[in-house]
C-alpha cells in the first residue's frame, strides 16, 4: 500500500493527474454553483421565522464547513509530509492554508451580514464567533511562519507540530454551540439524526456545499501544479512539458 501511495504521490505523476482532472472539477463546480444559486434564490421557500434573509445560509454554511475541512486536510497532509516525507503532501498542506483563510474570512463576513438583520448585531464575542476568528488568526500564523522558514526538514517538523496544536481549535468551533451559551444557533446539517431543515430547502444547501467543495479541490489542484512546476523546474520532464507547450 505504501509503495502505491509513493508512486501516486511522485511529483511527475501528481502533476499530470492534476492537469488531467482539474478541468472536470472546475466545470462541475461551476455547474453545481449555477444550479445551487437557482435553487437557493428562486426555488427554496422563505423561512417561517426569518423570511428571505435566511438565504445567506446557502453561502455561509458551505464556507464555514470548508474553513474547518481545509484545516483538517491541511493537518493530515502536514503530518504525512513530516512522517513519510511525501513531497506532494507538503505541497497540499502549503496551498490549503490561504484557501482556508479565504473561507474563514467569507464565513465571518457573510455571518455578520446575516447577524445584523436577524440577531440585531454584526458581532458578539460568543464562543462560536470568537473561535472562528481565532481559526483565521491560526491560518495567518501558519502562512506567515511557512513563508518565513526555509524549506528544510527542520522547518517541516516545526510546521507539523504547530498545525497539530492549531487543530485543537477545530472541535472547539464545532462543539462551541453545545458546550457554552452562545448567540449563534446550533448545528443544522452536521449533527446526529435528521437535518433540521425542510426538504424544500435542503437541495439548495447540498448543491452549494458540493459547488464549494469542488471549487476547493479545483483551486488546490491548480496551486499544486504551480508548486510542482516550481519545485521540479530543473528536471527533464518539466522541460519537455514546457517545450511541448510553446
Amino acid at each position: 500500500m505504501w509503495s502505491w501511495i509513493h508512486r501516486l504521490g511522485a511529483p511527475k505523476r501528481s502533476f499530470f493527474l492534476c492537469r488531467r482532472y482539474r478541468p472536470w472539477f472546475g466545470c462541475l463546480s461551476f455547474a453545481l454553483f449555477a444550479f445551487g444559486l437557482y435553487e437557493a434564490l428562486w426555488v427554496a421557500p422563505p423561512d417561517y421565522q426569518q423570511g428571505e434573509v435566511y438565504r445567506v445560509l446557502f453561502i455561509h454554511v458551505p464556507c464555514a464547513v470548508l474553513s474547518l475541512a481545509c484545516y483538517m486536510v491541511m493537518t493530515l497532509s502536514e503530518v504525512f509530509a513530516y512522517i513519510w516525507s511525501l513531497t506532494i503532501a507538503g505541497i497540499i498542506a502549503r496551498v490549503l492554508a490561504p484557501l482556508g483563510l479565504l473561507f474563514t474570512g467569507l464565513t465571518l463576513i457573510t455571518g455578520s451580514l446575516w447577524g445584523r438583520p436577524t440577531w440585531g448585531t454584526y458581532w458578539i464575542w460568543d464562543a462560536r464567533l470568537t473561535s472562528e476568528l481565532i481559526l483565521g488568526f491560526i491560518y495567518l500564523g501558519v502562512i506567515g511562519l511557512r513563508s518565513a522558514l526555509p524549506k528544510t526538514t527542520q522547518a517541516q517538523r516545526i510546521m507539523a507540530v504547530l498545525t497539530c496544536i492549531g487543530a485543537v481549535n477545530i472541535p472547539i468551533i464545532h462543539y462551541s454551540v453545545q458546550w457554552w451559551h452562545t448567540l449563534h444557533q446550533g448545528a443544522t446539517l452536521l449533527r446526529w439524526g435528521t437535518p433540521q431543515m425542510d426538504v424544500s430547502m435542503l437541495p439548495a444547501l447540498l448543491l452549494c456545499l458540493g459547488a464549494f467543495i469542488t471549487f476547493a479541490i479545483w483551486w488546490a489542484m491548480s496551486e499544486c501544479e504551480r508548486e510542482l512546476l516550481l519545485l521540479k523546474r530543473d528536471t527533464q520532464w518539466v522541460k519537455e512539458w514546457l517545450e511541448r507547450r510553446v
Binding site: 426569518q50 513530516y82 436577524t118 440585531g120 448585531t121 458578539i124 460568543d126 507539523a160 444557533q185 431543515m197
Partner: protein, 147 residues
C-alpha cells in the same frame, strides 16, 4: 518501520495529546467565563454588581410584554423555565422579538428593580422550514404542543 519514522510518529502523537490536554484544562478553568450570557436562574445566583455590563439570555415569557404608550419603552420577563427576570428596555426591538422567542439582552442587573437593558438581541434556532405548521418535523410539533 525505520527508527526515525517511529520517532516522528511519537513526536506528533505527544504534541497532539499535550495540546488537547492543555486546552481541555484551560477551557475547564474558564468554563463559566466563556458563556456569553447568564440565564435568569444563573443571573440571580451570580448576582453581578449594578455597574457591570451583563448579558441575560432566555425566552420572552408569554403574556408579560407591556409596551408603554407614546414611547419606545417596553417591559417583559425573560425566563429559562427555572426563574424569570423583569427586563426594562427603551429602543427599537429586533424584528424577531416576540413571545417565546429566544433573546439575549445586554445591560445592567439592578437587583430588586430587575434588569435594565441597553440592547436586545434575538436568537434564532437551527430549524429552517417554510411558514405553516404542517411541514414541521414531528419532534418540532411535540415541542410546540408542550408549550
Amino acid at each position: 518501520m525505520s527508527v526515525s519514522r517511529q520517532r516522528r510518529i511519537r513526536v506528533i502523537v505527544i504534541v497532539f495529546v499535550a495540546a488537547i490536554a492543555i486546552t481541555a484544562l484551560a477551557l475547564t478553568a474558564l468554563r463559566h467565563n466563556i458563556n456569553v450570557y447568564y440565564t435568569p436562574h444563573e443571573l440571580v445566583k451570580a448576582d453581578p454588581s449594578t455597574t457591570q455590563l451583563t448579558r441575560l439570555g432566555g425566552w420572552v415569557m408569554p403574556g408579560t410584554v407591556k409596551h408603554m404608550s407614546k414611547s419606545t419603552e417596553v417591559f417583559f420577563r425573560v425566563t429559562d423555565h427555572l426563574a424569570s427576570v423583569e427586563v426594562q428596555y427603551s429602543g427599537l426591538l429586533p424584528s424577531l422579538f416576540r413571545e417565546n422567542q429566544g433573546i439575549v439582552v445586554v445591560g445592567y442587573w439592578m437587583k430588586s428593580k430587575g434588569f435594565r437593558a441597553t440592547q436586545v438581541l434575538a436568537k434564532h434556532d437551527a430549524n429552517y422550514h417554510p411558514p405553516g405548521i404542517s411541514t414541521l418535523p414531528a419532534s418540532e410539533k411535540e415541542n410546540l404542543n408542550a408549550r
